[in-house]
Symmetry: C2
Subunit: 133 residues, 2 copies
Amino acid sequence: MDTDALDAARLLAEHRLPGIVVTDAQGRPTTVLPASQVVRFLVPQYVQDDPALAGVLSEPVCDRVATTLRGRTVRDMVPDPPRIPAAAADDTIIEVAAIMARFRSPLVVVTAGAELVGVITASRLLQATLQNC
Amino acid sequence: MDTDALDAARLLAEHRLPGIVVTDAQGRPTTVLPASQVVRFLVPQYVQDDPALAGVLSEPVCDRVATTLRGRTVRDMVPDPPRIPAAAADDTIIEVAAIMARFRSPLVVVTAGAELVGVITASRLLQATLQNC
């Protein structure tokens, strides 16, 4: 949650991730930050409401990055309230699919107790689903 | 739109894609099919409403694949109504970001006239945004 917002954006960009898991200071998963949420964060609300207005936004994109990301943390960007689409390590594929469907999340966090053990993306879930059918 | 639903699911799985662009018979982009939408399609509505019920769903996952995907086409899976988050090839980064933000889509389709010229994911957009800042 305390990671620099710009560092988180770079992590998503460099690894081409659909989202990242956000943890608290103790490493416990707290929420998911989708890449699309960071993109939304860069766009002023009035432009989100009417994308045609992006054309009149004369501010260079690096200035937008500076005004929205610099000096901020992941806490400022995460969806509110924090929602953690979490599955247990021994859940079935259908249980994971149900959690992903309900949260409309690009990924599901896998935990064993309070410990983060991994992440499953939608395409990885499809791969696991189809490989033996 | 007429592609077999199972083939589309395999395409998402094999290439680990967050989504694919759906075209009409003439190759014109019509809508976007997110991987998460295919996952949702596999899960019965009552389980989406209450993921705890996934545990009582005794049907093996391959049977779910058979009942939901076999004999269907992409047309059966796409969000209704079809929505095409499309940008023009000469749009700015902020314009693409605005379209992505508005549609809450994992990808934006790039067109030149009616022709499909490419696809931009959220993480690719962040990469382009950050590389010169």
